[in-house]
């Protein structure tokens, strides 16, 4: 399985990758992108089995990325990992086609709860 981690913060990408390992997904191939545009390029090249994406990014936000993917007919499973997790944002994420929203800060257990149904 291939997981694409999208976040403009290199520190956060490293934390997400570490958390994926701690949550038991260390055998999956994990690739990274620093913004939505890089993510589109990575997905075009080799479609992942799951996208874990920040919400608030320069160039192209996570929501813009998700909308662009769905508009182009890509149904890749998509989840947000974001510091904002109000009920309104969760509703917006799900209405846009995301499968889940993980709030920062998070734990390996949060990842397992959200990712296991997708990657099992």
């Amino acid at each position: 399985m291939r997981i694409l981690v999208v976040d403009d913060s290199k520190a956060m990408r490293m934390i997400v990758v570490r958390t994926l390992h701690l949550a038991g997904y260390e055998d999956h191939e994990i690739v990274q992108a620093a913004n939505g545009r890089e993510a589109v390029a990575a997905i075009s090249q080799a479609p992942p089995d799951l996208v874990l994406c920040d919400w608030n990014m320069p160039e192209m936000s996570g929501l813009e990325l998700l909308t662009a993917l769905r508009s182009a007919g890509w149904e890749v499973p998509f989840g947000f990992v974001t510091s904002e997790a109000s009920p309104a944002m969760r509703d917006q994420a799900l209405a846009s086609g995301a499968m889940f929203l993980i709030a920062k800060p998070f734990t390996p257990e949060d990842f397992q709860e959200a990712l296991d149904p997708v990657l099992a």
Binding site: I15, R18, E84
Partner: protein
Amino acid sequence: MTYIPSADDLEVITREVWSSFLDGDPSGLLAGGPGLDGDRVTGCVHLSGAYTGSIMLQCSAPAARDAAAALFSIQPGDVTASEVVDAIGELANMVGGNVKSMLPGPSLLSLPSVVHGQLSVPGAQVVREVAMLWRAEPLVVSLWQQAAQAA
């Protein structure tokens, strides 16, 4: 009446971020402290909308370097300036995003900005502030509100 997160709320959120990603131990962050008076790094996110203001995370330069080292899992001596900017920006973003969730909405959260030194927000005032110590270095988190809304 509109609820504005308390100083205790700011401390709880900061402790949660620190214990999750920096120390793994909430006791690593101590309440109180002398505040900031010297060389500092400031991370800030702005809110605009139902609540207009800012959330600011300030810490001493050594604390900023140590925070970056912890996030990047490297030695403090190997931390670069861009890694400090990335780390303090992301920490401000996490604290700010969680504070935003407690404020009236809808509001938009900006991308973080980071400066080496002090930052002031024109037309805004501090409405909540909490001072802490991390590894004996000062750390201050503050919530600002535009004066027009605060009045």
